[in-house]
């Protein structure tokens, strides 16, 4: 465990240097411990793959006090039990209609499109981080056989709900946005809805399974096709 200065109002806690369920479980327990140690002095918290950014108000407290409280709270930190966190199933319509890179990815991996779908939907993923855009959840780890690098030229416009792969990460685009990930399908579930409670169906530490669905089912669940991929 290492605690570094990040800025005038933030410290960053490093709990490892690789993506693994063990490190992610430590990140989970660290977040709980930090919340109770800092209480009202905690302004914001950004858990990620192997780190937690801790933001405080430098007019109310200071880095020495925050650092001291963090060190004592985290001295006997243990990984959160794996049973913590919900398992969320997200339906996905895997098809070239809505998955512009599905065929290219299969070809690259020397697999059939059906194999790619089976491999993508057979793994239980963990939500490692949320960022990039509101509701964008980084899920890992994708089976090595279908891991694929980001596109050389990112797309200007990726439709909302696009399910995509970058390296060993996968995600569902919560809104129309630019993006360079390989798109293999589309999910009708809203990943970010400011008017819903909760705003997101997942949180860091949750597990996610993808369930392949037919075009009919996708449309019945409110899914849309089309959307320009400039």
């Amino acid at each position: 465990m290492e605690l570094h200065s990040a800025g005038e109002n933030a410290l960053i806690l490093y709990l490892g240097n690789e993506t693994s369920p063990t490190v992610a479980a430590m990140v989970q327990s660290a977040c709980t411990a930090i919340e109770s140690a800092l209480g009202q002095d905690l302004v914001d918290l950004v858990p990620s793959y192997a780190s937690v950014l801790v933001v405080y108000d430098p007019l109310q407290t200071d880095h020495l006090s925050v650092g001291h409280r963090l060190r004592s709270a985290l001295s006997d930190l243990s990984a959160a039990p794996d049973c913590e966190g919900h398992t969320v199933t997200l339906p996905v319509y895997y098809h070239t209609d809505v998955g512009a890179d599905l065929e290219a990815l299969a070809e690259r991996a020397s697999l059939s499109v059906n194999d790619v779908i089976a491999l993508h939907s057979s793994v239980e993923y963990r939500v490692y981080a949320i960022g990039f855009a509101p509701g964008f959840a980084y899920l890992g780890q994708v089976d090595e056989r279908i891991a694929a690098p980001r596109l050389a030229t990112p797309r200007q416009k990726v439709p909302r709900g696009s399910v995509a792969i970058a390296d060993r990460q996968t995600a569902v685009y919560p809104a129309v946005s630019p993006g360079g990930w390989n798109i293999i399908g589309r999910c009708p579930t809203r990943m970010f809805d400011p008017k819903a409670t909760p705003v997101m169906p997942v949180t860091v530490g949750d597990k996610v399974r993808f369930e392949p669905i037919s075009r009919e089912r996708y449309l019945a669940l409110g899914g849309e096709t089309g959307g320009e991929l400039a």
Binding site: G7, E8, L45, V46, Y49, L59
Partner: protein
């Protein structure tokens, strides 16, 4: 009752102090790029410092009052006229329904704040009215102001004609020294690379916006190519593969995977956002202790600096 937008100018956004506590769902902070000018605007108007004002970039904005109230403009020197008569910035002015409020383009600096007595009445989203266009959140509809928008505010008849005397106003120049709290992957930049960063002048590139200011100058090399994506705090100075530093600001992404050598002091990041492409930036290291002292001092000055009253 409202202020009507006739022309929004280059970029006008409703902002409050910013959105805090929502990084975990991926929401960034937003908020005023220059909190000093923003805070003075509310203080002159005797408003709640958490209220909402309009941040105008570069100028060219035109509003029409639809209510009797008071306004104040602070920040970059955008010439202000009310019904065609020149009025000073950093000063509270009465306006009546039908009055035309116009802001020309600033010669120096590029961010100004238009406040109204009582602040604009905007429904907060995730605890804040701050507009972040990239997230489509805040303001009236998650977007920048457009001609025809009406900014709700209340009728006010009792405000003192306060002003900030000329010698106490900030001055915006073409050069800023940004103090940097070393941190993050600082140790993965060799001593030579750190010395290069702290001893050369950089210039503001034309890729500068509310997300971040990309600078141009001697390239800084890092021993690391990339890192596992991690939380990015305000002011973080990110160094991508081309070695050209980027100071990440209010609308930054909350996580990212480029190495960072520390973070800008917010007081200096505010001055940086008043610079234009081609202007000069120097960096100087500052300890976290000294940074906190500077923040307390600046807070006291902004909240206690005496204001003057027109007779």
């Amino acid at each position: 009752m409202s202020l009507e937008v006739i022309q929004p100018g280059v970029l006008s956004l409703l902002q409050d102090r910013g959105r805090f506590g929502s990084h975990r769902i991926g929401l960034t902070n937003g908020g005023p790029l220059d909190p000093e000018a923003f805070n003075y605007c509310h203080r002159l108007l005797a408003n709640d410092p958490a209220g909402t004002a309009v941040e105008m970039s570069f100028g060219g904005a035109h509003f029409r009052a639809q209510v009797d109230t008071f306004i104040c403009v602070t920040g970059a020197d955008m010439p202000l006229t009310i019904n065609g008569t020149q009025k000073p910035l950093w000063e509270v002015h009465p306006v009546a329904a039908g009055d035309e409020i116009q802001l020309d383009f600033a010669d120096r600096g590029c961010r100004s704040y238009l406040g109204v007595a009582g602040g604009f009445s905007i429904e907060p989203t995730f605890g804040s009215t701050a507009t972040v266009v990239r997230e489509n959140i805040g303001g009236l509809s998650g977007d920048k102001l457009k001609a025809g928008d009406r900014l709700p505010c209340t009728e006010t008849r009792d405000r003192k004609r306060l002003y900030l005397p000329h010698e106490r106003r900030p001055h915006y120049q073409g050069m800023v020294t940004v103090r940097v709290i070393p941190g993050y992957q600082q140790n993965s930049f060799s001593r030579i690379e750190q010395r290069r960063f702290f001893s050369h002048a950089y210039s503001v590139s034309d890729r500068c916006d509310r997300m971040g200011y990309r600078l141009e100058g001697p390239a800084i090399r890092c021993d690391l190519e990339g890192i596992l994506s991690e939380g990015i705090c305000f002011g973080a100075i990110q160094v991508p593969a081309d070695g050209q530093p980027i100071v990440l600001l209010n609308d930054r992404q909350t996580i990212g995977g480029y190495p960072k050598l520390g973070s800008a002091l917010s007081l200096d990041a505010a001055k940086l956002t008043q610079l234009r492409p081609g202007d000069t930036v120097h960096f100087a290291p500052i300890s976290p202790h000294a940074a906190h002292n500077a923040l307390h001092l600046a807070h006291d000055v902004i909240s206690r600096q005496p204001l003057e009253l027109h007779p």
